[in-house]
Symmetry: C2
Subunit: 464 residues, 2 copies
């Protein structure tokens, strides 16, 4: 019976704890409410959502409905939701809210989130919003904007907990109990010298378990990694990931404590970084889901144009063999297969290589060994497709010579693909450029050219 | 002068803090030392490395050198390094170390890392290693192995800090100061009832700043999200990412506290998950950088085989127009361009769509609107390539009719590509399958078939 009580109590607590989850059903209800101009109902449905879920909901509404909902929520809107919004959506919303509305929301956010909110607006919009803020908030944001985009200085929050090294644990705890403006959450207490240079750190759990009389300097773990404010966010993400950090102090060039980067901000960077590589491999610069058609089309055009060029280069190769094709039209039927198999195999190698370079699993130290392995893999699968290709062409066209030429071209192209798939990103990386962006284009050029040339060339030599 | 002293002191501390960074130079030195059989030097070079960096170094050595280095390091090897190793590398190393060696290392690790170490070995190897462990460690690991792979139960560590709800902050702190077996780091104090059901949590920073007399129940933020041990790790990662969590309690079906998942474990999952989608788009199941050639070849084969089938399907379309090609060989030269432009444009759409589905930015709620947008984008870029294609074909072959057919086929294929690039992953996702894996193959089938059919079909109609 006590067991049932306990279970019932757990259920109640479940309700108390559970945020309303954002379901497709809820999204639909909100949209229907807005369609019926029942804004009060829509706001009531949206209000209990966790800010992150509210952001997801807002992203799925169109621009008009979105601003309508935000306006109806008014002060009940949890400002943090704006920090979670996709960039393009957020820009539009901030514009719709106007300087006063945006300013009111900004004042509630941590510095790094506030900076995200206004960083991409035009100068005039920025000035208008900043003008509506209280001076300390405005100063903090302007200082943050001074840091380069995508740097640690933009990721950090300025609110830190710092104590001198001669303080005891007792003094620290007393200080924390009386000071009113602590950060909401903090994971480390930083030890600073009189010049505010950060010289050590103690995780909060270690402060808690030490005796009151212990000096903070004595419980310093000497494991701290300082991050300069100008450090690129991808490097920050790498450090957090590599060394399992939860928070890290951000310093200026002198080593003075400016703020702290916490892992939840870095988690966003990690996801964005991985997403970026994914998008680049597919020929897209950034996720344009929420961007208007004209902007989307313009952004996608350059990569398509480059691919048109490489396709023309490949077709130029074909053009050299027009005579052969006119004589044996089966060549035109089979040649795309050779080219495309090379492209696929090469893409497999390319994908693994690009990822291995990003995670520092691949470097010049083991590159030769890996290249040798790719050669063997290409040989193995090349052998399989040699056999498959010969059988296919034999069955289709009945000519053993054609079948052998087809099979041989497959092997040649698969070998070229495997080597190119690794060499191209390695070389691009060596030149200090981003392999994810451009490797694919170079690779398909190679596999198309080699594929067509090998097949048609062998055909001319042995068949015609 | 005091400034110089301080700067000098900061430099000293820099050295005290700095781990030796893992550079290409250091990797080379270690390999040279091992080549010269100077294992003592190699070990001396490797020993000061942070475990994560040591793991990177080990990954870049070949199997023999790797074990040689590990054996020389002996007890100086920081066991954590093994937790950071790539799976394939780790398996080999654990095998080489044998049950006794592996057992000694296992005993030093947290439960979740220990489980990772032996989870993928055969039963016999597992039993041998477990037999060499002290009973409590062995029991904890076996309990962990009972959870499904890739679940919260495997990610969690069992060491938690839990107190009754009527305790005061003072009692909690005193307890923490006297208890010897606390976890190394913890971020929350969990509140449990007498049955060890978790009913609340308090971040450590909040415990620290509250007065000694406060009851822990009073400073509970009621923000806790419980995670059941059987929850898939991707869902865990989503929760951490979405709600900015640093740690979360893991419970059984009754709500009893089993352990805690901390953000550093989840960061690994987030990266792996994003990496997975990247690899799948490129036709690879997992990063096979460190796998032997035969296994790599075998894993890559199925996707290549499927692509061979789709290439054959596309070539079947070409085969229907053999007569036309024999008459006008320019068709064979231009047709790959039409097909490949469709493939590229479709891949752009596909990539954005797959990512938007994964990040819950796209759902049936806004799918129609997004589809309409893709249609417009395809029309815009289609128009550009209509013009480009007409000019290209005109310049190359001098025939206005051919040029117009070429341009028209381009537009048709780009339109088909844009729509297919979004519809295919949407449908696959609707069916509850993973769009990242299979969408690409279906897409290229569509763009190849439509491309060849549109171009050759229009050519037959208007040119021949």
């Amino acid at each position: 019976m006590a067991e049932t009580d306990r279970a019932a109590r757990a259920d109640d607590e479940d309700e108390a704890f559970a945020r309303i989850e954002l379901s497709e059903g809820l999204i639909r209800e909100v949209r229907e409410a807005l369609d019926e101009k029942n804004r009060v109902l829509a706001a009531a449905l949206a209000e209990p959502l966790h800010p992150a879920d509210l952001a997801d909901l807002l992203e799925q509404l169109d621009r008009e409905d979105r601003f309508s909902l935000v306006r109806t929520l008014g002060p009940r809107l949890d400002a943090e939701a704006l920090a979670y919004l996709d960039e393009a959506v957020r820009e539009n919303l901030v514009r719709d809210m106007g300087p006063a509305g945006a300013g009111a929301v900004l004042a509630q956010l941590d510095t790094d989130d506030a900076i995200d909110l206004i960083a991409d607006l035009d100068e005039a919009e920025k000035r208008a919003i900043l003008a509506s803020l209280p001076l300390p908030d405005r100063a903090a944001i302007e200082q943050g904007l001074a840091f380069p985009e995508y740097s640690a200085g933009r990721l950090m929050q300025r609110e830190v907990v710092a104590v001198p090294d001669y303080w005891t644990v007792g003094q620290t705890i007393d200080y924390l109990r009386t000071r009113p403006d602590l950060p909401d959450d903090f994971y480390d207490v930083y030890i600073v010298d009189p010049g505010f240079h950060v010289i050590g750190s103690v995780p909060v759990s270690h402060v808690l378990r030490a005796k009151r009389g212990t000096t903070v300097a004595d419980i310093d773990l000497h494991k701290m990694r300082r991050i300069e404010a100008s450090t690129d966010q991808e490097e920050v993400a790498f450090l957090f990931r590599q060394y399992g950090l939860v928070s890290a102090p951000v310093v200026d060039e002198e080593g003075r404590l400016l703020g702290v980067v916490t892992v939840d901000d870095v988690v966003d960077v990690i996801q964005e970084e991985a997403e970026e590589d994914f998008l680049k491999l597919g020929g897209v610069q950034e996720s344009d889901v929420f961007q208007p058609p004209l902007r989307t089309g313009r952004q996608r055009l350059p990569w398509l144009a480059v691919n048109l060029l490489t396709a023309v280069v490949a077709s130029l190769v074909i053009a050299q063999f027009e005579g052969a094709i006119a004589q044996l039209v089966a060549l035109a039927v089979l040649m795309p297969i050779v080219a495309s198999m090379g492209g696929n195999a090469g893409t497999q190698t390319l994908t693994v290589t690009v990822r291995a370079l990003a995670t520092r699993q691949l470097s010049t130290a083991n590159a030769m060994r890996m290249l040798g392995k790719e050669f063997v893999v290409s040989l193995l699968n090349g052998g399989v497709f040699l056999v498959a290709g010969v059988c296919l062409a034999l069955f289709w066209f009945g000519s053993p010579q054609l079948a052998l030429v087809f099979g041989a071209a497959m092997v040649v192209n698969l070998l070229a693909a495997g080597l190119a798939g690794m060499l191209i990103p390695l070389l691009i990386d060596r030149l200090g450029l981003d392999p994810a962006v451009s490797s694919g284009v170079f690779l398909t050029t190679v596999t198309d050219v080699v594929g067509f040339f090998a097949f048609l060339g062998l055909a001319v030599h042995f068949l015609i």
